[in-house]
């Protein structure tokens, strides 16, 4: 299945891409995906799936859009 990964803020510069599709096996979770794009799992971040909070352990579905963002406080 294909998942679109979108990085936010400095993650773009730090991890070298802004947005890209990834082919992943069925059953892949958001946590797995974070490992696939080489983001340190201990790093504070907000991960959303189609605009909503990710449920831990929940498998992703084909066509999902996963957004990985640092934690912000606004301007």
């Amino acid at each position: 299945m294909t998942i679109t990964v979108k990085l936010i803020g400095p993650f773009v510069q730090l991890f070298g891409f802004s947005e890209k599709p990834l082919d992943v096996p069925e059953g892949t979770t958001a946590d797995d995906l974070i490992g696939l794009v080489s983001i340190d799992k201990s790093r504070p971040k907000v991960v959303t799936r189609n605009g909503r909070a990710v449920v831990p352990g929940e498998p992703l579905a084909d066509g999902d859009r996963v957004v990985i963002s640092p934690i912000y406080s606004g301007g």
Binding site: G9, Q13, A53, S69, P70, G74, G75
Partner: protein, 612 residues
């Protein structure tokens, strides 16, 4: 007394007098500084019902015990007064050398009273205060004024100044400092303007009293280096605050077209990546090692310093996605000394009202030339529409009628920040219960809602989180007077702040002690509102009606078909009141005031409004 100079400087512009006034150690411990000092002084000294744009209002500049001392990120000051746009307590903070210079001059706060006979610049040089003519720059923008002051006194002095917006009493005029700093979006620039006070200049030479100056110097400078190291690792200041724009667009929280839409396919054109690419310079506040002010060239080739609030509200909110064009609107706001956030919301409100036939005119979303002309008309109060809009969106909506108040994006009169809460209940609550009107600085809870909670929830966990954040952001950082960004953006632990406080004051406090002060300050701000609005009730804490409107839902995207539900919001608000110890009107109960040490202030408020 260590940690405080122990003195306020009280200046009267009417009779051109000034005096240093001592305050007690008990007062200092109870209110700490910044917002705490400001609200206590205003509560004790202002008669309820006064005109915020009249000579009876007071303009306060208040500092905290670590203000101006080299440590993360202490170059900030609170400006406060009765707000012209809300009629309640108003304040704001801004980065400025005044933080250091006023404390070195020997004062923890400046209280400006009365009204000058002609445009005046107040020059404070240690114990000496001069009232100098400022007619030469009256009618000029903040950039010219700042340069005029630097040419006289050099760049090391602390400066606060206003532009034409403040002079013309635009109700959301701000106070400006340094190259791109602004504060007091509750109309503090108009309060200065109403006093014919064009600028304040401060130079001090005295040591700032500290319990352990050598220890503070070592810890403060080490920590500034450490914050810089962390920032380099996290990369936060690469895109700074505008990094959040792309995220808001993804999670349907971006203000687009007067908040009618929550995301837009062109939003990427003005996101943090593009802003960083367009960067020509970087600016920051004093004592900052994670500078966040990204300047670009506007369409006229001028330097314009942008952050997320500016971009969000002067860009997508007006359906403008071109960074140089957004930069121009931002430059104009900064030069006129008009708040970019309220300015953006007022412009979008008017375009929406025209679109719906509620207001006369032909302005359309996306019309950057039209918005520029209108911004000038507002700042200079030209023409009927310019004058109406200079009053803010709430008053403009009352004038236009036709139900336009429903989409005037404000709470208590103050326009909302750039987070579209069409379906973000906790952040809508944060705007609703912000004690100065809708402002994100008090409690930015969106991240929690989308990370550790359920977006659909209206449960007490969100009300509790709003309170937790208010205690830190609207409390600690506003009374100790320091920038919240090292903590929130780069994870700088809060435990550093009691450590700094002990080094300067000698007092061994815990964070829990600070939270009590935060709650005390919030309770007094509520009493201030009660005195001004004795018939106050919970409706003052409701967000804009359009967020509850089923006909306003997104038709596609992450929150398609969703909107805030009124009864559930009201329940969330009640959770907040219950947790705070407030009554059903949102006013602290007598028992809460007793617990927080504001029972005496409560008894004073009972002459105007009831307590339960």
């Amino acid at each position: 007394m260590h940690g405080w100079t122990g003195q306020f400087l009280r200046v009267n512009l009417t009779d051109r007098t000034y005096r240093a006034e001592p305050f007690s150690e008990d007062f200092a411990r109870k209110w700490i500084g910044g917002r705490g000092f400001a609200v206590k002084i205003l509560y004790d000294e202002l008669r309820p019902g006064i005109d915020p744009l009249g000579p009876d209002n007071k303009f306060i500049v208040a500092l905290g015990p670590i203000a101006g001392i080299p440590a993360p990120n202490t170059g900030k000051a609170v400006v406060a007064g009765k707000s012209p746009i809300t009629g309640g307590y108003g304040d704001g903070n801004l980065g400025t050398r005044v933080a250091e210079q006023l404390r070195k001059a020997g004062y923890d706060a400046l209280i400006v009273e009365g009204k000058a006979a002609s445009p005046t610049m107040l020059v404070i040089n240690d114990d000496k205060v001069e009232f100098l003519p400022a007619g030469e720059v009256w009618g000029r923008g903040t950039y010219v004024t700042n340069d005029w002051i630097y040419a006289k006194y050099g760049k090391g002095v602390g400066v606060l100044n206003i532009g034409q917006g403040g002079e013309n009493l635009v109700r959301y005029a701000v106070v400006r400092s340094l190259e791109g700093r602004a504060g007091g979006r509750t109309g503090m620039g108009a309060v200065m303007g109403s006093k014919l006070l064009k600028a304040v200049v401060v130079k001090g030479t005295k040591p700032i009293p500290q319990a352990d100056p050598a220890g503070m110097k070592k810890v403060g400078t080490d920590d500034l280096r450490e914050v810089n190291r962390i920032d380099k690792k996290t990369g936060w200041s690469i895109q700074s605050t505008n990094g959040v724009l792309a995220w808001c667009n993804e999670v349907a929280a971006l203000p687009v077209r007067n908040f009618r839409k929550t995301h837009h396919p062109d939003a990427w054109k003005c996101d943090g990546e593009r802003l960083n690419n367009a960067r020509i310079a970087t600016y920051g506040c004093p004592n900052c090692t994670m500078r966040c002010g990204i300047a670009i060239h506007d369409e006229a080739g001028r330097e314009s310093e942008l952050d997320y609030e500016n971009v969000g509200l002067l860009g997508p909110n007006l359906e403008i996605f071109d960074l140089p064009l957004i930069g121009t609107l931002n430059y104009m706001c900064d030069d006129y000394g008009v708040d970019t956030m309220s300015g953006g919301c007022v412009l979008s409100f008017y375009a929406d009202a025209v679109d719906r036939g509620a207001a006369p005119g032909d302005l359309r979303f996306g019309d950057s030339e039209g918005f520029k002309k209108l911004l000038t008309a507002i700042a200079l109060r030209q023409g009927e529409i310019g004058n109406i809009l200079a009053e803010g969106s709430m008053r403009a909506a009352r004038k236009f009628g036709h139900g336009s108040i429903d989409y005037a994006m404000q709470v208590k009169g103050l326009e909302v920040a750039a987070y579209n809460c069409k379906f973000i209940p906790g952040m809508a609550l944060a705007f609703g219960v912000s004690p100065i009107g809708a402002h994100h600085k008090e409690s930015w809870v969106i991240t929690f809602e989308l990370k550790q909670s359920v977006r659909e929830s209206y449960g007490p966990e969100k009300a509790q989180k709003v309170i937790d954040l208010q205690r830190i952001r609207g409390g600690l950082f506003e009374f100790i007077v320091s920038c919240r960004f090292p903590w929130i953006e780069n994870g700088w632990p809060l435990e550093h702040y009691p450590k700094y406080f002990k080094l300067v004051s000698g007092l061994d406090w815990t964070l829990d002690d600070f939270w009590t002060v935060s709650d005390r300050i919030y309770s007094l701000i509520k009493l201030f509102w009660l005195r001004e609005y004795p018939q106050t009730d919970r409706r003052l804490d409701y967000p804009p009606a359009v967020w509850f409107d089923p006909s306003n839902v997104d038709t596609e995207g992450p929150i398609a078909g969703k909107h805030l539900e009124f009864d559930k919001y009201d329940g969330l608000l009640q959770h907040y009141y219950d947790l705070r110890g407030y009554d059903r009107r949102g006013i602290p109960t007598k028992a809460t005031l007793e617990r927080l040490g504001t029972a005496e202030e409560g008894r004073a408020a009972e002459r105007y409004g009831s307590l339960t």
